[in-house]
Symmetry: C2
Subunit: 247 residues, 2 copies
């Protein structure tokens, strides 16, 4: 089914960065999109694939991951609504990563040929898509810095701060009793795979974060009890997310 999701999240994402002209907005909206629901814990694309389409996430969480020869898994990115996890396949035909759903997801597939045509007709849209992949790269760098240099406590705190910032940027952050809350149903094993830590140590780090009054986390709802203090404690600086709001 080719459709436009209530108000296209793709459009919303692009407009969060730059003001679009009517023509550009219309060009984005006329991009054929095939909407699809995908259950949790399922690969969307796999290492070695040569996809002829990319997708945007309308709803749900996905992760980009690699598997080592020793059978260990590194989650390299977690994507949320509004993100396009495999835009790279537009220019890198063979995937060097797999992408899986962490939750039930609604995604919109767009054919590469259609995206390419859009990019040719509206070069500014191309620039914005390019920009998105550059932000992804900036996040990879930050995660690499965490994995290489920060201790377990900071790593867990850091990714939590990142998620709050990104959820807020796409309007997915709620307030409950004045406290920011996000729906982040990720397991401790997955978090360990993302941070290069064992799930046991994740568990202990989370306990520390809870005991020290930084967060509350229950059945997928993560509450920030003192995010400013957490940001300081986990060396979080949002510059790398490049969330600069449009004028």
């Amino acid at each position: 089914m080719t459709t436009t999701y209530s108000q296209s999240p793709l459009l919303r994402k692009l407009e969060s960065v730059a003001r679009l002209t009517d023509e550009e907005r219309e060009a984005v909206c006329s991009l054929p999109v095939q909407e699809q629901n995908i259950p949790a814990h399922q690969d969307i694309v796999r290492e070695g694939d040569r996809p002829n389409k990319s997708f945007y996430i309308y709803d749900g969480l996905t992760c980009v991951y690699k598997t080592t020869g020793a059978g260990r898994r590194q989650i390299a990115a977690i994507h949320i609504a509004g993100d396009a996890p495999d835009l790279q396949s537009l220019h890198l035909p063979v995937l060097d990563i797999s992408i899986a759903t962490l939750t039930n997801c609604t995604v919109g597939f767009m054919k590469h040929e259609d995206i390419r045509a859009l990019c040719r007709r509206r070069p500014r849209i191309a620039d914005l898509l390019w920009r998105e992949t550059l932000v992804d790269a900036a996040v990879y760098r930050e995660w690499l810095t965490s994995a290489g240099q920060r201790d377990a406590f900071s790593r867990v705190g850091h990714i939590i701060c990142e998620m709050f910032a990104r959820y807020e940027a796409v309007g997915l952050l709620r307030k409950v009793d004045g406290k920011p809350v996000i729906h982040w149903p990720i397991t401790q094993v997955q978090l360990g795979d993302a941070l290069g830590l064992s799930s046991v140590h994740i568990n202990r780090s989370l306990q520390a974060l809870r005991e020290q009054g930084f967060i509350a986390w229950k059945s997928g709802m993560l509450t920030g009890l003192d995010l400013p203090r957490l940001k300081a404690a986990s060396d979080f600086d949002p510059t790398y997310l490049h969330l600069s709001p449009p004028v």
Copy 2:
């Protein structure tokens, strides 16, 4: 001084990926480039900068790095001749990283406005530049996987395999007595910063690699004594470098 380096490394890099038309080739060559020599161990750009130009490396090594609040340094990338380490600043105005020279470097600065004009006139060039930033991202992911999941020995072996592959791709790999040799004058401290390991442990890992007949390394000349075995031992698969040769 505006000049074209013997045969433009930028052009060589682009043509290693796609066949260019005469017009495209000419457009690339007519891009004004300001050549500059920069001594070793010097920042080219710094976190927070808002550069109005990007640069290509003609000769030498640079590194992309971030510093944590605790004063630790993560080297997120090492770039060699033909690479454009800060192309991202074309679309992300504020730098979230610093870039420094590891050796004496010759680089060519290109104004963003000129690159943008080139991209508009020759969209395929834009795609190739975009592609380059995507390969950078793929390398970040692989390094993240190393930092998160591989042990010290594999990490060191892996980056060595990567360097041999990348040097070869741009024609910087020499053969001595039939053995591949690259000029890689990096210190053990720097290697530690890149891999998230202490220099002491780098030293011991290198000794293991030498003793087991994988490599020889003396005064910046790195010799691969048995790269196939090293690739196997350090879980190296070059897919992520996306070196697919042009037809």
